[in-house]
C-alpha cells in the first residue's frame, strides 16, 4: 500500500523538499515577485506537458511538439500583424489541430509506431516552419496586442498563470471525469483488449494527438509573446523537456497510469531548480546539469522503491 502512495505522490515530496531547501538557501526565492516569475516561466513547458500526459498515459508520446512550437511562433509572427493577436491565435489553433490530426492518422491508418511516426513528423513540421518564414525571423516588436499573453491579466492573475491553471483543471477533469480519459487509460493499459472491447481506439488516438498539438500551440503563444518573434529554430529539445516533466511527475511510461497534477508539480520543480540556481548565481549549463541529475536521481529512487516492493512480495 505504501508503494502505491509513494508512486503517486513521491514527486510532491521531492518538490516540497527541494523547495524548502532552496527557500532556506536563497531567501529571495520566497518573494511574491519571484514566485510569480517562476510560475510564468514554468507555464510554457507545463501547458504542453498537460497534453503530453495524455499521450504517455495512452502508451505513446509525441516527439513533434518542438517543431510545432516553432511553427506556432511562425504562424503568429506572420499573422498577428494582419489579424491581431486573438485572430492569429485562432489560426494557430486550427493549424495545430490539423497537424495533430495528421500525426494521429499516420499512427492509426499507416500503422506506424508513435516513436517513429512523430520522429518523422518532427522533421517535416520543422521544415514547414522554416519554409514558411524563409528561415528569417518574423518580428512582432511593433505589436502590443500579443504582449497581453505574457504581461496581461485575467481576473487579476497574470495570464500565463491563469492559463496554466485553466488548462490543468480542464486536463484533470478530462482525465478523471470523462469517457475520453478512461479510454486513454484503457488504450495505454492494454491496446489489444481495448480494441476488442469495442471502444473507438483510433478516434481516441487521433484525439490525443490533437490534444498535444493544441496544448503546444498554447505554449507556443506564450513563448511568442515573450520573445516577440516568429522563429523556425526554437523549441529544439522542447519535446524532451516536456516528456521529462511528464515522467518525473509520475506518469508511467508503460501506460495506463497518468498523473496530471504531478506533471504540473514536476514542471514547477524543474523551474524552481533553475530559478534557485539562478539566484545562487550558477550559470546556465550548471542548471542543465542539475536538471539532468535530479531527473535521474528522482527516477532512480522511484525505481528502487518499486524494486524493494517487488522483492518483498
Amino acid at each position: 500500500m505504501w508503494g502505491r502512495i509513494w508512486e503517486g505522490y513521491f514527486i510532491y515530496l521531492v518538490a516540497a523538499v527541494t523547495f524548502a531547501a532552496f527557500a532556506v538557501i536563497t531567501p529571495n526565492l520566497l518573494t511574491t515577485a519571484n514566485l510569480v516569475n517562476v510560475l510564468t516561466n514554468a507555464a510554457t513547458v507545463a501547458i504542453a506537458a498537460a497534453g503530453m500526459t495524455f499521450a504517455i498515459t495512452a502508451g505513446g508520446f509525441d516527439l513533434s511538439i518542438g517543431s510545432m512550437l516553432a511553427l506556432t511562433t511562425c504562424v503568429l509572427g506572420k499573422m498577428v500583424p494582419h489579424w491581431g493577436a486573438w485572430g492569429a491565435l485562432g489560426m494557430a489553433l486550427v493549424v495545430g489541430a490539423v497537424l495533430g490530426a495528421v500525426n494521429g492518422l499516420i499512427v492509426t491508418k499507416l500503422r506506424i509506431q508513435t516513436f517513429v511516426a512523430t520522429l518523422s513528423t518532427m522533421i517535416v513540421y520543422r521544415g514547414l516552419a522554416l519554409l514558411y518564414t524563409g528561415g528569417r525571423d518574423a518580428t512582432l516588436y511593433a505589436n502590443l496586442d500579443v504582449k497581453y499573453f505574457t504581461a496581461g491579466e485575467l481576473l487579476g492573475v497574470p495570464f500565463p498563470i491563469a492559463l496554466t491553471v485553466l488548462v490543468f483543471s480542464a486536463a484533470f477533469a478530462a482525465y478523471r471525469f470523462t469517457p475520453f480519459g478512461l479510454r486513454v487509460r484503457a488504450i495505454g493499459s492494454n491496446l489489444a483488449a481495448a480494441q476488442i472491447s469495442g471502444i473507438p481506439v483510433h478516434a481516441t488516438q487521433i484525439g490525443i494527438f490533437v490534444l498535444t498539438a493544441t496544448t503546444t500551440v498554447l505554449s507556443g503563444t506564450l513563448l511568442t509573446s515573450q520573445i516577440l518573434t516568429g522563429n523556425g529554430r526554437v523549441g529544439q529539445g522542447f519535446e524532451l523537456e516536456v516528456i521529462t516533466a511528464t515522467i518525473l511527475g509520475g506518469t508511467s511510461l508503460s501506460g495506463g497510469r497518468g498523473n496530471v497534477w504531478g506533471t504540473l508539480v514536476a514542471t514547477l520543480l524543474l523551474t524552481i531548480i533553475s530559478n534557485g540556481l539562478n539566484l545562487l548565481g550558477l550559470p546556465d549549463p550548471y542548471q542543465r546539469l542539475a536538471k539532468g541529475l535530479i531527473f535521474i536521481v528522482a527516477l532512480a529512487l522511484s525505481s528502487l522503491v518499486v524494486l524493494l516492493r517487488e522483492r518483498r512480495a
Binding site: 509506431q113 520522429l119 517535416v124 539532468g292 527516477l299
Partner: protein, 334 residues
Amino acid sequence: MLWPRVSLRERGILIALAVFWAVCATVNPLFRNPSTYENILRESSFVGVTAVGMTYCIISGDFDLSVGSMLALLGIACVAMVGHTGLLLAFVCVTLLGATCGTLNGFLVAMLRIPAFIATLGMYYVYRALAYIVTNGAPVQFQEDWFTEVGSGNVVGIPTPFLFLVVLALLATYVLRRTPFGRHVLAIGNSRRASEISGIRIPRVRMAIFAVVGAFTGVAAVLQSSRMWSANSGMKPGYEFDVIAAVVLGGTSLAGGRGSVANTVLAAMFFASLNTAMNMFHVESYMQRVVIGVLLLFAFSLTGIRAYLGEQLRLRREAREALAGASGQSQPAP
C-alpha cells in the same frame, strides 16, 4: 560465410538504395561523378559508425538517447587532447572515454534498473551540460592537417571515415553472428527470462552493450571533429534521432530480438544519398527536411504494411506447422 541466408525481403534497404542511385544517375549527370559517391560515403559514416553500435543496443531491447550529447563531449575531448597526444593516442583515449560514458549509462539502466528511455534522457542533459561547462560555451579547434585528414581525406580513393565504418561494421556483424557475446545480445532481446535461465548474466551484457555504444560514439566523435576541425557543445543537434532513424530504417525493430548491422549501414548511406541528392537538385534546404520526413513516413508505412503481412504469413505458417507437427504419425481414422 558472414552473409546469412537472408531473403530479398530483408534486404529491402539495399534495393531502395540501388534504385535511388540508379534514378538519380539517370536524371542528374553529377550523380555519375565518382566524387559524388565519395561525398556520400564520407557523410554516411559520421552517423553510421554510432548507428552500428546502436544496432546492438536496440536488438537487445534497450535504447540510448544520449549519443548526441556524448558525441559533443567526446568531440571536445578529442580536439582538446589531439594536439598534445597525437592522433593514435587521442583515438584510443576518446574511445575509452566513450566506453566509460556508455558504461555509466549501462550502470543506470542495468544495475539501478532505470528504464533506458529515462536514464539516457537524463544523461542527454548531463553530458551536454558538461560539454558546455568544460568549454565555457566556446568551440575548440585544431587545424593541423594530420588531424583533419582523418575526417576529410581518402585512403586508396575511399573516404577514410567510410573505411572506419566498413571495418567496424564487419567486426560488429561478425561478433553478433559468430560469437557467444553476440548470441547473448540477441537472446536478451528475445526473452529476458529465458536468458536468465540459460545462465546469461544479463546486467553485465547490457552494460557491455552500452559501453559498445559509447565506444562507437567515441570513434564517430573523432571522425566528426576531425572533419569539422573543431568541436563544441552544441554540435550536431538531433544526432541521436539521426542514429536511431538509421537503425530503424535499416529494419531493426524497436522491439528488439533481431536486426542487421549491414542494413543499418545501408540505411545511413541512404540518408546521406538523400541529402546529397537534394543538394544537387537544389532543393531548398528547408524543403529538404520535409522531404526526408515524408520519405521516412513512406518507408515506415511500408514496414508497417510488411509487418501486417508478416503477421498474416505467421498465422498461416503456425496453422500449417501445428497440423504437420502435431500428429506426425497420425493414421487414418479406424
